[in-house]
Subunit: 291 residues, 4 copies
């Protein structure tokens, strides 16, 4: 009744999607005494013929988000292994196959990395230490057959204590920043790379993703940084150079400022040595680079 009231107005649903977020899974891969652990959080989003659920209270096409959660748990038990990408692709296809009203499925994942704990210098068989940096993947699969796949990492906190500067920028009445040829550069980076086409399910995503990241971090470490922009661009270049199967790289790099400590009131000069880490405000640089 209330729905009819508003349906009487000329209104148009121009975009809609729904799904379940933060579906968490832990698999213990224990085929050998040397266990592997795989902890992944999933987000599932559906688009399609769901308009009647908005406009007329009709749920007959609405796959419950609780069912999405169950599906992730059941399929993960059967199919999730060391690599996230093949499973995310399969999960997306499952929803398309199961429900005709879905036109597009988006699966997003992020992973809690667990490094093997070293005990007496030896990697332990079944004990693990949480590792920083969150691997992510994203699949967008359409009923048309089109599939997009991206891999990457976020929350990776890196810093260089020299080899970075910022100068020759334009000045105006509101400019107070001094130029510098030596500063700390720190970022909590998010990097994702798009696969030209999804590689075969037995492709070694884990190894390639690690190699891409290593290539980007080598640039971060080795190249002098005249700006976050240049460093970002060169890191993307290193990723594209490393892996011919990826078509683009998107990087988001907050500039986590370490401000020079002002020690002049105390007769001290902290230049290059003493800094104050700050959370806010922060710079933010984002770009997408293709071949």
């Amino acid at each position: 009744m209330s729905g009819q009231y508003y349906a009487a107005r000329p209104m148009k649903l121009v975009a809609q999607n729904y799904g379940k977020q933060r579906v968490r899974v832990m698999k213990v891969l224990r085929s050998a005494p040397r266990h592997e652990v795989k902890e992944v959080e999933f987000g599932v989003r559906l688009e399609g013929d769901f308009e009647s659920s908005y406009t007329s209270g009709d749920n007959t096409k609405v796959v419950p988000t609780d069912t999405m959660k169950n599906t992730v748990h059941a399929l993960a038990h059967e199919h999730l292994a060391r690599q996230t990408e093949p499973f995310a692709l399969r999960l997306a296809q499952h929803f398309l196959k199961s429900y005709a009203q879905i036109s597009r499925v988006t699966i997003e994942t992020n992973e809690q990395r667990w490094a093997r704990l070293a005990v007496d210098g030896q990697p332990h068989n079944h004990s693990f230490l949480a590792e920083g940096g969150t691997p992510v993947t994203k699949v967008v699969a359409a009923r048309t057959g089109a599939v997009e796949l991206a891999s990457g990492i976020e929350n990776l906190l890196v810093l260089k204590s020299t080899g970075s500067g910022f100068k020759d920028y334009p000045k105006c009445a509101y400019t107070t920043l001094p130029e510098t040829t030596d500063r700390i550069l720190a970022t909590s980076m998010r990097a994702t790379w798009r696969w030209s086409a999804p590689p075969a399910a037995d492709y070694d995503f884990n190894a390639t993703n690690a190699a891409i990241l290593d290539a980007m971090l080598a640039v971060f470490a080795n190249n002098h940084s005249p700006s976050v922009q240049t460093t970002l661009y060169e890191m993307a270049g290193a990723a594209l150079a490393l892996c011919p199967l990826i078509s683009s790289v998107t990087l988001a790099m907050p500039n986590k400022h370490y401000l020079p400590a002002n020690l002049k009131p105390f007769g001290l000069d902290g230049t290059g040595v003493s800094f104050v880490p700050t959370e806010e405000p922060h710079g933010q640089i984002e770009a997408t680079i293709t071949r």
Copy 2:
């Protein structure tokens, strides 16, 4: 040098933006004994002719993000008053006017609301209590003259203890959710509305935004909810009905589940009375509705 190395590859910058996030401002509007306080956090993002900063280490067009911060502080001191929208519009134009290399400016704001503290039943002149729900605005201003303005609110946590159900949905092998005609519905809503054109600077945004929100919350409270989707759609309808100056409404409503407590093992029936609030996983429903 390192830049040249990568520039040698065929690479293309297909999207880039940069700016300053989390620039915080507090204004005390103290023209009368009855103070007003206005606490807003700004994000500034620029797009434009900044490619050379990525590809050749050239900073001569890069407005420092520190300058953006200073600009926010200085202009806020001079111009920020009770309403955020006129100031956000002015701030965007300032950047376009000051720097020819900018093609587009995005200003995003969120506000810490402060309600007047009641003392002995009377609203106090200069003491305040933080209030939930974060008003937001977004301005996108282009050198072409095009300006988009949106207002809204996020993190607004609302709940209804009855008047909500969910049934008649499709079932499959992975469906375990029981149908219900009476459940708790809770969400931390994000609602934004786009203005057809930016109203004049002396328009009463605060009053209209409050009225739009009230209209949406009345629907949330009064209308029976057969699904989050229907409730979202009807809330958008109420907003569009209330204010002819807005052209679309976008709502994001996480379904913050309150699961029925399973008390059967203890010989108890908690139906409709005892629930377990959960943070994860959660449903998520998002849609944009236009006229």
Copy 3:
């Protein structure tokens, strides 16, 4: 075996406790069309004769923390009503009665407040808006019969835009803070008060707690603040004056700094008008006041 190895060393367990944290409960009190909702999170900690679980792998006295969670859910269904304190007291006694090995039970609670949503100016029967400030209680009940009960509130964010200063403090080589007779004072206060003895279960805790808080906030608002310390002390005094049944008040008041914006480089004077809110570092003042 491994346990015996370490037990061979001369080691002493000088303190131990264990329990379940973050047990969440929502009750819908629906005896009338006008519902009440009560959302509380519990922590349960036990002390007692549990040494053998540490020293010899003996679990025969270890009440599982999962059982604690179940107990909270079951007893909350049967007994939790509008007031938290009587239920927390009952819950503590339940554990003492059920398990002889327990010498002391600590129950800590925090509550998500839900204010009735106003629709067309009228409080709604079953729709609610989250409210800031988290009411807390703490019960420590011993087998000896001794019972301590405290009530209070935390995360209550309040601010005064004038009526606060800080001057006449000692200076040294590291002092750069200018004296001020007019600043913003803001805090996210935690206030708890200890009951001389637990009042009867039908005592109106909710009303008294609200009155105590009002009395403290009136002092915060009305009294000139020469320092956080003085304001804290006067607020405690107001609480003790208001309610003869409480024996002490403990306050923790972070000084959430709003720094004067430095606008001199831009030829502006922001004194008393423009401030920069900061999260870190922050002052912290804590004290306990008794009669």
Copy 4:
């Protein structure tokens, strides 16, 4: 005036302390091409003859918390090096020496660890990756000369995928937990150890702290865990056995539950393989062990 009003009541200040929290410092130790970075956050708390600041608005003894911040920055520039403990001890003594009204100083620190980034398999000279687990220290220094020093680590997230069980516990009407001989054990541990007396400033705290942690983690990994309690006790034993200079160990180990996934409705058995990570509720085990 307002102060006098409340001072007229019989009130007693039974405990008070104040200070500055979250004072952040980054030092770049660059005596060689191979930089070291040291990022530490400090909390400073003072106790002493500060009563008049509470009771009569007298600030003449109140060292501003802003001065504490400045002091940390200035002394850190001059004295903070690779080890936190000697600096924390020195910082505490500085306050005692500088201000006669202080009877006791508490310094707490936590450190952002930065591991050297590996580039082409080689540790880089000036690039770093954030590392999990937060080293902490605590100094309590009194005017009497008494000094307590503790070191440790918090937020260290570790997990074992087998070698843990929980059985033979008491059952009651509220027990539903099944016994298990094989579960996942995960915790975000906090471990601190008290030094019998502060070692000399040139003592190698970093190496000893690392060795103590390694010894505890070896026990976590290698010993079968019949309960968190036993594992905690054995870990403390390993720490005490490793380092004769520490007199006690305090451990807080939340039991971060990985619940067996319930796949029965889908005809699957997830035992030992599929789990659901949960944040709440969680067990919590805390104990202090001395020699």
